[in-house]
């Protein structure tokens, strides 16, 4: 899921300058799980806004705010409240914010920072394992992604900065290449060490991405 967290309140206040009436939007999927933009956070935001002399015209928690058509439908159902507002304050990831901005001419203010595509260890503890590079190498790396887990995204083995199996960029982290090597060794195969991996085709990471699958 997409990991997001609320922006610093001082930054948010700055974005809210001159906006007195707000319509709030949350997301029932990732932003709820991250405790950043679910029903509970919408209520808290309402209180905080009230304390800062803002009026809330209404709110909605959309099933999946990244779903562009669903956002269009939900906004239509709240047409009057949206009309009344100076701006929409959106507590979703960046994808959700853009579903909103694609569906209204009103000013859309994002309240969250989107961090990464995260695996969930337990609620509140997330790990970035994949950066959606479009050219997946996991089958050769024993299921550990060097593009994401190696601080330098190296594809052919560790850098000279590895020390005692720890990463140069953060000694609290294991070097991804040591983990890959150890798991491949346990599996009795050479994997990614059997060939020189050529430069990555970043062109397969369509940006801007549009797919019909």
């Amino acid at each position: 899921m997409i990991i997001s967290r609320q922006k610093d309140k001082a930054e948010l206040l700055h974005h809210l300058e001159g906006k007195h009436k707000l319509f709030l939007v949350g997301c029932a999927a990732c932003a709820t799980a991250c405790k950043a933009g679910g029903e509970e956070e919408i209520f808290q935001m309402q209180d905080w806004l009230a304390a800062h002399d803002r009026e809330v015209t209404g709110s909605v928690v959309i099933q999946e705010a990244c779903h562009i058509m669903r956002v269009a439908r939900d906004l239509r159902q709240h047409r009057t409240a949206v009309q009344e507002a100076d701006a929409l304050l959106v507590l979703t990831c960046g994808a959700g914010v853009q579903s909103l901005s694609a569906n209204t001419e009103k000013r859309v203010i994002g309240a969250l920072d989107s961090l990464f595509l995260g695996n969930v260890r337990r609620l509140g503890q997330y790990e970035e394992k994949c950066s959606l590079c479009g050219d997946c190498i996991l089958n050769e790396t024993a299921g550990i992604c060097p593009v994401t887990n190696c601080a330098k995204s190296l594809l052919n083995g560790p850098c000279g900065g590895m020390e005692d199996g720890r990463c140069e960029a953060d000694r609290d982290n294991d070097c991804a290449w040591l983990l890959i090597y150890e798991r491949l060794t346990r599996q009795g195969r050479q994997g990614v060490f059997a060939r020189v991996v050529p430069n990555k085709d970043w062109g397969r990471r369509h940006q801007p991405g549009r797919h019909r699958l």
């Binding site: 190296l154 560790p158 850098c159 000279g160 430069n199 970043w202």
Partner: protein, 285 residues
């Protein structure tokens, strides 16, 4: 053919040193350091934003060194430039008569003086070696023909004391397969570790230039052990420095011993003297 590659190919023992470009625009200090190097030094590494600290691009200093008859080894890291910029710089280097290259991943920006920088690492060091191979064959990484092909002597860095040895060595093999014509090692202090490394590397047929770092005092040695990956200064050397009346002289003594080790096992020595270039003659005799 560069003198450096000629001598390596001829099996002569080579000596290289290292100079950093300035953090500023005045080059007289760096050029003065280069001019003062003794004749035994056949080529000089010019570092590339070393330790991820921003300095002048090494291409300028390398080109000026060459004009003065000092042969440069241009260091190039994958940290700061994507494949287009790297290839463009490689062509520029060739046009300026720079042949020797040392191709590196580069230290992560997190601990340099621009920790907010976006790290690039579009290529890794093995892929950068492949890019050099392609250019030398008259093609760029996209397979397009060049109007004329550059000539290079590409080298790569290795860390003989890194553990696990097998993991480190798999990458060494890839570097050889990707066209490394020489290896320059991280500073080595243990003859045993070096001998093991050389035993494995010999069948690859790539000459090895051993890194020798001048230890100035015990404090520096301890710092290296704590902060520089792959560098292991043994405790007996630290004790020698700690007990010495003149630690720098003791450091020169230790470096002399290491040069002798290099002569026994390797094809050359790379001296890292960090501002004490005037002691190089002593270290070599």
């Amino acid at each position: 053919m560069s003198h450096f590659s000629e001598r390596l190919a001829g099996g002569e023992f080579v000596v290289t040193a290292e100079i950093a470009p300035p953090k500023g625009v005045a080059l007289d200090l760096a050029l003065g350091q280069a001019d003062a190097l003794p004749a035994e030094v056949v080529a000089v590494n010019v570092t590339d934003n070393q330790s991820a600290n921003m300095r002048m691009a090494p291409l300028a200093l390398a080109a000026l060194l060459r004009q003065r008859g000092v042969e440069p080894i241009l260091q190039m890291t994958c940290r700061d430039r994507n494949r287009m910029a790297l290839q463009a710089d490689l062509l520029a280097a060739a046009a300026l008569g720079i042949e020797n290259l040392l191709l590196l991943s580069g230290d992560h920006p997190r601990f340099g003086d621009h920790p907010q920088a976006r790290p690039v690492f579009d290529l890794d060091s093995v892929q950068l070696l492949q890019a050099v191979q392609a250019l030398m064959a008259g093609r760029d990484l996209a397979g397009r023909a060049l109007t004329s092909a550059p000539v290079f002597c590409p080298g790569a860095a290795v860390t003989p004391e890194a553990e696990p040895f097998d993991l480190m060595f798999q990458k060494v093999q890839k570097k050889a397969a990707a066209g490394a014509r020489f290896f320059q090692t991280q500073a080595v202090f243990s003859e045993e570790a070096l001998a093991r490394f050389m035993e494995h590397v010999r069948p690859l047929g790539v000459p090895v230039v051993m890194g020798v770092l001048l230890l100035k005092n015990a404090r520096m040695a301890r710092f290296l052990n704590e902060h520089i990956p792959g560098v292991r200064v043994p405790s007996d050397l630290i004790n020698r420095l700690a007990l010495a009346e003149d630690p720098l002289r003791e450091g020169v003594e230790i470096a002399r011993g290491l040069v002798a080790t290099a002569r026994r096992h390797c094809q050359g020595v790379h001296l890292m003297t960090l501002g004490c270039e005037d002691r190089i003659s002593e270290i070599l005799c």
